[in-house]
Symmetry: C2
Subunit: 431 residues, 2 copies
Amino acid sequence: MAKTGPVQVALLGAGTVGGGVARVLIEKRDFFARQLGRPLVLAGILVRDPAKQRPDIDPALLTTDAFRLLDDPEVDIVVELLGVEQPALDYVVRALSAGKYVVTANKQIMAKHGPRLLALAREHGVDLLFEASVGSGIPLIAPLKRDLLANRITAVSAIINGTTNYILTAMSREGADFADALRRAQELGYAEPDPANDVEGEDARYKLAILASLAFHAPVRPDDIHREGITRLTANDFRYAAELGYAIKLLALARWQDGGVLARVHPALIPADAPLAKVDGVLNAIQVEGDLIGRVNFQGPGAGSLPTTSAVIADVLDAAQSVIGGRREVHADEEAPSRIVPMSELVTRYYIRLTVADRPGVLAQIAARLGEAEISIASVIQKETHFHAQTAELVIMTHEAREASMQSALEAVGRLAVVQEIGNFLRVEEQ
Amino acid sequence: MAKTGPVQVALLGAGTVGGGVARVLIEKRDFFARQLGRPLVLAGILVRDPAKQRPDIDPALLTTDAFRLLDDPEVDIVVELLGVEQPALDYVVRALSAGKYVVTANKQIMAKHGPRLLALAREHGVDLLFEASVGSGIPLIAPLKRDLLANRITAVSAIINGTTNYILTAMSREGADFADALRRAQELGYAEPDPANDVEGEDARYKLAILASLAFHAPVRPDDIHREGITRLTANDFRYAAELGYAIKLLALARWQDGGVLARVHPALIPADAPLAKVDGVLNAIQVEGDLIGRVNFQGPGAGSLPTTSAVIADVLDAAQSVIGGRREVHADEEAPSRIVPMSELVTRYYIRLTVADRPGVLAQIAARLGEAEISIASVIQKETHFHAQTAELVIMTHEAREASMQSALEAVGRLAVVQEIGNFLRVEEQ
């Protein structure tokens, strides 16, 4: 049932994420059309208040009538971004039953009703895609479905709630107690006024249910998952854990055990040098272990309008490929880089190690050569005077400079009588 | 052109990776058949020496005649694992031209000839898949093709050569010089007898060419990439970098700049707290930055027979889906966990924080209660004696114990007159 016209997308919800998705679908429409070989158009957006100002969006697209979109035979893909269980669940069921592809960011309906909804999609020959429901824009669902499919997954260990990780990071760094850290997270907008869903581990439980069901090829429901929150943690716990060589994180864990799977969400001590111990602030990280892959780690922003939009649109493009009946491939793009920039145009900071004569005025001579190339010195370390050779080692960190200037300055420095050797020269990546 | 019989796979090469792929295709054939809804069978394996002992593989599958496989109309998918440029390139061209899907782990042919080969695949209505060519089993290629497609990628920063990262990690930790660290890496099999391809950055350059071409939607050839190796680094460089707050890594970098892309492979100073600075030993890590996603990080084993097999088979399953004409979905599996294991069956170590009376014999009483539940103490910290209250805080780390035993022991401990409060109780995940 390959389609010939444009692929039509209906959005349910125009909140933070919905608004972002609408904006990006409009702004990047030419790029998406080139990738798909076919336009991807917004057929309509379900909103609560059509009178609200939405400067980027054609008001004719807005509707308060979900069924106008769900029952429109022209709509190929329904994107559900309501963020609540109902009426989202009913809408998704209706869309799938009508043979429409559905993309959702809704962890609640996927955690509670995922297996049933996926079966419904299969029954109607379409797909239900939910990359944004866990870990926002971090690719997780598709890698579990595709890239790790040859593996027997043995464990999933994750930090998948940004709010609690932000609070725990603050407690660990500042010796704050839970209540203080929570208050500050609320002031900064990292925690909701009613934080229970996050700090009691409920949000992480939903996400783990989704990940574990996928990883273990069997339904793991939220109620199957033991859950403890972070509210009982004190500043002392962090202090003692650190003394013992551990960090404290709210972990979502699911592991094979005795022919079954044990899944749980609770704060845990993890070795301070474990990769997950270094995941701080609102970041999310998911570690997957499998019989072939060993251990692989995914890390990135676990929330936010743009990262979530990234995942939602990836799913929309995937669904659109299926609607069109084409294969997934990345096409060369006219907005691609127009040239290869030569190394001489690099602008960065530099580290230079030199062996120099150990006498007054040497640094001034070197600085003068660098200055002639408009390179300024950020810091200098002088080291290891070799008394007999009367030489010293000099380490210079520069401010930002152009590679071409740096190369010519280095040549000039190398020609100075007081410079015995340019030992090394490295670029600094501030990341 | 959907197919009805089994999907037939030919392997070119039965070395470390090829042998692993063959073994896993045989061992997991029932699982793969369930996922595909169709058997996935080995049609033949190109080897140099058919007389060599291969205990897991039917000798009838072996052939020294590549064309027997490449020209066999029954073969749907050709997996190229020869690891050299020729004759691999000719074989891949021939397979694609014959309308066969091709899966390759060959970074050389993809870096040098990728755009041409991908165009050839498109022309013949098939796919060329190359997940294993960069970062072994770490999902990278498919996430760039699918999950991050909505993004305008602005930078790729990667540690993609395990040999050099192993050497640099040793130099950093042990203050070793390059020559010593290399010698040890060679003794341990982490570096080749002729290490030039790795230590001069050539291997990383190939991989960066593949990643950058995909990320920026435009061909970036190996020759477009500035390359410096790690051979000039000394123990002092690591010492000075550390004093300045930096680590040294061999980075593969590609970034948008002035309407073009600047790509380079060289050792660089990076802030000691940057995520890439913490990637040690033979691990690989790739950081991708995009306009929507912000920054996302992938990490895992960058080499090895099993991780590479994981990626190769993911591609084979993907190609097989296309051959069959079905949609990608993960099916429930009969080898999936048969039960949800209750929390009471968890076995782990525990951290317990207690407020106790500050007098002799208290620890003995607590240890006795724990001992009755067969829980032994690994370490104890006693803290913060409150002089007036005559209480102390006690932190106990246990050896491994069963959750059920721990819960009943905690109850017994809580009933002790000398125990004022069980302040907290946390599980320890040794990761």
